[in-house]
């Protein structure tokens, strides 16, 4: 990157620095036309970066990672709606890695998102411009739909306009007399011209300045339950995941990296491994080894047989030492105070009715169902990478760096992902695959990690500790102070993604605590950064995944201290602060018959989190059985502004809840001798068919802006369950996972 690159890198900050950056970009950079990265072959036409048309059909480019959240379907529906094509006639494709597909919504600001204000809007536009200039093509932050909602509909509408103009030119008819239907332009006499035929001419028509979008009342795909474009492949075993890539002459590899994360390797002895059948090569990776063999199993077996001496971990050796270091962060100056309403210090002078509580959550692994893997082929100074990933431009640029090539010499294919949850925002799996391919140029090498390697070399959700203090008035809290300490996931991933960790407040460390739509008179949230070198990364809902637990358990404690209904108390705090949130909580209480008493062996808990612009409230009902506690039922209400695909939103809520409850009950990554202990699903279990609750979801549309659903279902699930356990047993559990404190069936 040139000079502009350096400026933007340094100024990709939050708050005032971003404004400085905004000036630096200049008008041109922000408004210039984006290049169309699609390079149509013979007989193919592209009208814009989202459309590829051949004689056989129309392919919509859906440039976000499909990792289960249904994004290819919803993004395709945005284009298909405006283009006016029949759903069964379209195909979708992830498309190339390109800055054109930048995500303008991924950067977030240190403001509570529920508060509408013009400074925030302006800053958001600037952040969007940063995304454009830096070409950040990333799937994360539950932003795909929000980011695409306008631009992909506009792409469809512009293409439809061009089809009509092309038909008008061809037939001499007036454009205003032409209509479209299901991939055809219809002439006044009923004659039909297919988009496929018109495409080459339409591609020459300059796109309109501002194509007119349909009124939502005219939508036929958006707002409806759409059949997912990937469903048939996924139930017939024909969907291709990264791990399924098949290439002529391909060899199979695995890696074994230093389990003391971030440390190097002193030496290794691979004599035995090299003699094993099928083994082609052992590769020195500096901080680990790789084995290339005739099949994956041979590579796994050989990797185990190598004796390795490792360097020591750059962080405290065990869980206890790590957490006492996190605790020490409270002695430092806070890194942030992003909420400071009223005057907590005066409101919380030590009197005897102050309520205090301390919470802690463990490190967590992503444990995607498909272990990390990638295929790479280095041939004639060209590198091709096949990798399920959430950030293809990063994968491309880092792969280029590893191989000593220009980015232009690298092609990245992004197949389906067997889960992402934030893990596939990284590029370690592709870098390692490239290193393996460099050891045997000319041959495609598929590098698959064992489950143990995957779980023990993650970028973990950080452990965190919180100290809460509060004081109750008659029926609601009048003061709440939260101090939250954790190593900074944000600083770590910023360094990896942008080459630097921006100074200033780390919003992510406190998101879910500082930005909740509650009006509490004296309300302060402080974040403390603990410097610990365990690798950290975004884990489904990121900071909200632990702040939701802290904050909502504490509100429950406050309500219980006065014997107040926790739903009624929250409603009162929200009423004048954020109406859509109020309605969400009210809706879930109605769904769950909250006002009716429960049977004796049952308990229930409530929680609410506003995250990624989506307020979500959940009520969980549990019961006691002979074998232990059972999570019976979850009711969930949310507001996404505009619900594009209700059935998929329901699926995402179910998924987020089950992911969250799995973590709440079982999830825990611990350390011994600098190494992660848990290695597989026997020690890192999750909900299964017999333990998964029934789930009922209701989606509201009262919010003015559209928002995403991939992550917001996760945060409230964990506190709702802990609160339900208190309700049933009187046992207030302040540390996760819950299995360490109670027996589950």
């Amino acid at each position: 990157m040139g000079k502009l690159g350096t400026i933007t890198r340094r100024t990709f900050l939050i708050g005032s620095a971003a404004i400085a950056g905004g000036v630096a970009f200049g008008y041109y950079q922000v408004t210039k036309e984006l290049e169309n990265p699609l390079k149509p072959g013979k007989g193919e036409t592209t009208l814009n970066p989202y459309l590829l048309i051949t004689k056989e059909g129309i392919t919509i480019i859906t440039p976000r990672a499909e990792m289960g959240q249904g994004v290819h379907t919803t993004l395709a529906a945005l284009v298909a709606e405006e283009l006016d094509v029949a759903w069964q006639d379209i195909k979708t494709m992830h498309g190339p890695a390109s800055g054109t597909y930048y995500n303008e919504k991924v950067a977030t600001l240190p403001y509570p998102e529920y508060k509408e204000n013009s400074t925030k809007d302006k800053l958001e536009n600037i952040m969007g411009a940063v995304g454009k200039i830096m070409g950040i093509q990333i799937t994360g932050g539950s932003t795909s739909t929000r980011d695409a909602f306008e631009k992909m509909r506009l792409a469809g509408a512009a293409a439809r306009y061009a089809m009509i103009e092309a038909a008008a030119d061809k037939t001499g008819q007036k454009a205003s007399t032409l209509k479209t239907k299901d991939g055809f332009v219809i002439l006044p006499d009923g004659q039909k011209l297919s988009y496929l035929q018109l495409a080459p001419e339409a591609a020459k028509i300059p796109p309109p300045e501002a194509p007119k979008l349909k009124d939502p009342s005219e939508w036929r795909y958006l707002g409806k339950d759409m059949p997912r474009v990937d469903m048939v492949e996924k139930v017939t075993g024909t969907a291709e995941f990264g791990i399924d890539t098949k290439l002529e002459g391909m060899l199979f590899a695995t890696i074994r990296m230093n389990p003391q994360l971030g440390a190097k390797m002193k030496s290794f002895d691979a004599k035995k491994a090299k003699e094993m059948p099928g083994v082609k090569k052992v590769v020195d990776l500096g901080d680990g080894i790789g084995v290339i063999a005739n099949n994956t199993w041979q590579a796994f077996e050989a990797a185990k047989k190598i004796t390795i001496e490792w360097e020591e971990a750059p962080y405290p050796p065990d869980t206890k030492a790590i957490f006492s270091q996190i605790e020490q962060a409270f002695n430092n100056e806070p890194n942030s105070t992003l909420r400071d309403d009223g005057d907590v210090n005066t409101a919380l002078v030590p009197t005897k009715d102050i309520i205090k509580a301390q919470y802690a959550v463990p490190f967590l692994a992503h444990a995607t169902m498909e272990p990390m893997n990638a295929v790479a082929l280095l041939k004639d100074d060209k590198l091709t990478v096949w990798a399920g990933n959430q950030a293809p431009v990063l994968v491309r640029d880092h792969a280029a760096k590893v191989a000593g090539l220009n980015s232009e010499a690298v092609t990245v294919y992004t197949p389906y992902m067997g889960g992402g949850f934030g893990r596939r925002c990284e590029y370690d799996f592709s870098d390692l695959a490239v290193k393996m391919a460099m050891a045997m140029p000319g041959l495609p090498i598929k590098t698959t990690w064992s489950r143990e390697e995957d779980m023990r070399h993650d970028f973990y959700r950080p452990g965190a500790i919180a100290h809460f203090e509060g004081r109750m008035g008659n029926d609601q809290p009048i003061a709440l102070k939260a101090d939250i300490a954790s190593p900074s996931c944000f600083q770590q991933f910023s360094s990896r993604f942008m080459g630097m960790a921006p100074p200033g407040p780390d919003k992510i460390l406190v998101e879910g605590s500082f930005d909740q739509p509650y009006a509490i008179e004296h309300y302060q949230v402080n974040g403390y950064i603990s410097d610990i070198a365990v690798p950290l990364g975004p884990w489904r809902s990121v900071g909200n995944s632990y702040n939701g637990f802290f904050h909502e358990c504490f509100l429950d404690e406050l309500a219980a201290s006065k014997n107040i209904d926790p739903v009624a108390m929250r409603l009162q705090l929200m009423k004048n602060e954020h109406e859509p949130s109020y309605k969400v909580l009210k809706a879930v209480a109605e769904m769950a018959d909250w006002d009716k008493p429960l049977a004796k062996n049952k308990g229930r808990g409530v929680a609410f989190t506003y995250s990624f612009n989506t307020p979500v409230a959940q009520i969980i009902e549990i019961s006691n059985s002979e074998d232990g506690l059972k999570v019976d039922k979850v009711w969930c209400a949310l507001d996404v502004g505009t619900a594009l695909d209700p059935r998929n939103i329901e699926a995402q809520m179910m998924s987020g809840i089950i992911y969250g409850l799995s973590a709440a009950i079982y999830g825990e990554i611990t350390f011994e001798n600098g190494q992660v202990v848990e290695g597989n699903f026997d020690s890192y279990d999750a909900l299964r068919m017999a333990t998964a609750p029934q789930i009922e979801v209701k989606t509201l549309q009262n919010k003015p802006h559209i928002s995403g659903v991939g992550e917001p279902g996760t945060p409230p699930s964990m506190p709702a369950l802990a609160n339900a356990i208190f309700n049933l047993t009187g046992n207030r559990i302040r540390e996760l996972p819950l299995k360490n404190a109670v027996e589950f069936a």
Partner: protein, 154 residues
């Protein structure tokens, strides 16, 4: 020396070391990649295939120990010709990332072959070895009940 296996109705000669788990023979040697690798220790069910109709974790069965006919996801239905269970899976929009779904469908196929009126408890017992990190369990359960109703009719 080769060894003969019957996979999806065809007799195939396998050259691999008899200790090789069936999973890796299917995926890496035969290119039948519909069967997935998830854990390698029989804890997740992603690699489930049928051996003489019995749901079996192919990651933990050496190819030398296979006794019986092997059926993989590729052997039960195709996109053009799906089984009733697969059709119901599509109607209920069960899959999310889809990675566990071959295993889920194989396990459900075995369950419904043995018991065409499974209770919730039967479903719990038959399906709890199959992990789904995307949490598709509620829809899997609904789909199995629906498929059972349809199979009884047909």
């Amino acid at each position: 020396m080769g060894r003969s296996l019957n996979i999806n109705g065809s007799d195939i000669t396998i050259e691999a070391d008899p200790q090789t788990p069936l999973l890796w023979v299917l995926r890496d040697e035969l290119g039948l990649v519909g069967t997935k690798f998830g854990c390698g220790i029989a804890m997740c069910g992603a690699c489930t295939v049928l051996v003489d109709g019995e749901p079996t974790r192919s990651c933990s069965l050496s190819v030398g120990d296979v006794e019986g006919k092997v059926t993989t996801i590729e052997g039960i239905g195709t996109p053009e010709n799906m089984t009733i269970i697969q059709q119901v899976w599509v109607e209920h929009q069960v899959a999310q990332c889809g990675y566990c779904q071959s295993g889920q469908i194989m396990a459900a196929t075995a369950l419904l072959q043995e018991n065409n009126q499974p209770t919730d408890e039967d479903i719990d017992d038959a399906m709890s070895g199959n992990l789904c990190r995307c949490g598709t369990y509620p829809r899997i359960r609904a789909a199995i009940h629906e498929a059972a109703t349809r199979l009884q009719r047909s």
